[in-house]
């Protein structure tokens, strides 16, 4: 079963960290990514650019309107995701719990099941 782990964190949180703290966090991410790669659970993932680089496209009278900045106004912003393929939802949550944003209080991870193309007739 595939799950997408959505990383929501406070933009700019890293500005307040020392270089050593920052390196430690990158190190933690590397360890998790290596483990997920070796176990054959990692499907993919991406980190996103700072929210200030976002453009939001919405419907408007007579067409569409494009504005600078993210859609959701909130303290935490969507910062990136990884997709894993694992045997249980508990395992997906366990991976999320180890992500540095959760462990150090920079943000939260949302675990969302990915829809399958297969289905049983009922």
């Amino acid at each position: 079963m595939k799950y997408m782990l959505l990383i929501w964190n406070r933009p700019g949180f890293a500005d307040e960290l020392t270089e050593a703290e920052r390196n430690a966090i990158f190190g933690e991410v590397d360890v998790i990514m290596k483990e997920l790669t070796e176990s054959g659970e990692l499907v993919g993932g991406d980190a996103l650019a700072h929210p200030s680089q976002t453009r939001t496209v919405r419907p408007a009278a007579g067409g569409t309107e494009i504005t600078d900045g993210p859609f959701v106004e909130s303290k935490e912003q969507f910062a990136g995701y990884l997709t894993v393929d694992c045997d249980t939802p508990e395992r997906a949550a366990e991976i999320a719990a180890r992500w540095p944003d959760v462990r150090h209080g920079f943000g939260v991870l949302e675990v969302r099941a990915v829809m399958e193309q297969a289905g049983t007739e009922m």
Binding site: G40, L42, V43, D85, D87, M115, A118, G119, T120, E121
Partner: protein, 412 residues
């Protein structure tokens, strides 16, 4: 010879060749890699240059050569590193004769048991079985399971490491373990089958191939263990289920429930074979879960129309199934059958305990069955609410689409 025919031949030969190598050299990990390389070489050469005289011996020779090369380079590396003279390995002198050792079915069995080893998570058992026994390439397996090739390649590598680390041996399980180990093999084959059967879009071709592969392996297992009723039952269940393939989706790819399928589109050949298999198995074997499920599928298959289904017979079979393999999913199906005999309220009464069980309370299948029975009972509002609850809970796109359509039909 067409590349399709070559591919079929290679898949049949793959476990035999791997069996020969593992028996001679041990080292499942290295042998499995060597066989994959030999299969790849054959897939390229044979369609262009024609079949060698002894295809199996050709593969054994090429795979052994790969293994030898691998060992030599490993050997040379170690020599360079420690500068210690290492004796030339004995295997290099023992080139296999072209047609020695007849193909042994035992090898295929042993491989199946090895790949479905209890030290492995189920997803790894599946991947390893498809590669080592099914002879599928990593890329094909990855496409079928909709994951990147690198992910599947790691999963297989990890599975092989775990099998070796667990000290698994290339032998048949002891009679004390046999039933449990065979159960794991049957479960893996059934999972592979379902993965392919339930595919309705996406990389459909590759996934449908899984169905064929699962049936092929179940057939092989049945040939090797002809007196095992559950093996016969599983093969029959696969054939009877796969017979619906053409009728299970509509023109727009939407799911069509059993009751509404055009039965003239069912594969009569597969139905006949499945019915014969399960009928025979039930005469000499104590009924196991796969046989009973196949028997239920056979009763459905024998009815020319949904309306003429022998529901009392199906209720009786579900009662047997609930006794030998109690499980909430069995109760769900049993409730549908009971509703057809004793009315929807009787079916709903059977569902009540599942709604209070944490394991099933939020499950989309429970909501979907409740919705169906409420609809039969004429309770449109509650039926609609239950269909919508099921649509929210499922993680399958085709199921969500089906459930939303059913809900929409009941809109006030």
């Amino acid at each position: 010879m067409t590349s399709r025919a070559v591919e079929d031949l290679l898949r049949t030969l793959a476990p035999q060749v791997l069996g020969v190598l593992v028996r001679r050299h041990g080292q499942f990990y290295a042998c499995e890699d060597a066989v994959q390389e030999a299969l790849l070489a054959a897939a390229v050469q044979w369609p262009a240059q024609g079949l060698p005289e002894h295809p199996r011996a050709w593969l054994v020779t090429v795979a052994t050569r790969r293994l030898t090369d691998e060992w030599r380079s490993e050997h040379a590396r170690r020599e360079r590193e420690v500068a210690v003279a290492v004796r030339q390995p004995a295997y290099a002198a023992v080139a296999p004769a072209a047609d020695e050792e007849p193909p042994s079915g035992d090898d295929t069995l042993k491989l199946l048991f090895l790949c479905c080893h209890p030290a492995l998570p189920v997803s790894a058992q599946v991947a390893l079985t498809l590669r080592a026994v099914g002879g599928l390439g990593t890329a094909e397996i990855a496409r079928a399971y909709l994951v990147p090739e690198a992910t599947m390649s790691q999963r297989i590598r990890r599975a092989k490491q775990r099998v070796e680390a667990a000290g698994a041996r290339f032998t048949l399980p002891s009679s004390a373990d046999r039933d449990e180990r065979l159960g794991a093999v049957l479960r893996v084959l059934y999972l592979v089958f379902n993965e392919g059967y339930t595919a309705s879009s996406g990389d459909e071709l590759h996934r449908a191939e899984l169905t064929g592969e699962a049936i092929r392996l179940a057939r092989e297992l049945h040939r090797l263990l002809p007196t095992d009723g559950e093996v016969a039952g599983l093969l029959a269940l696969m054939l009877l289920t796969d017979a619906h393939r053409a009728a299970r989706t509509g023109p727009a790819g939407e799911l069509v429930p059993l009751a509404e399928q055009d039965r003239t589109r069912w594969d009569r050949g597969a139905v006949a074979e499945g019915i014969a298999l399960v009928t025979e198995a039930l005469t000499w074997s104590a009924p196991g879960p796969y046989q009973v499920q196949a028997a239920i599928a056979a009763v459905h298959a024998e009815a020319p129309t949904a309306a003429t289904t022998d529901w009392p017979q199906i209720v009786a079979l579900y009662r047997v199934l609930a006794r030998i393999a109690p499980n909430p999913m069995v109760t769900l199906n049993q409730a549908v059958a009971v509703a057809m005999v004793a009315g929807p309220r009787a079916g709903l009464a059977l569902l009540a305990p599942l709604g209070e069980d944490d394991r099933t309370a939020g499950h989309h299948r429970l909501a979907a069955v409740r919705a169906h029975l409420l609809e039969l009972a004429g309770d449109r509002a509650d039926a609609r609410a239950a269909y919508l609850a099921a649509a929210r809970a499922t993680t399958s796109l085709p199921e969500r689409r089906y459930l939303e359509v059913r809900a929409a039909r009941l809109a006030p």
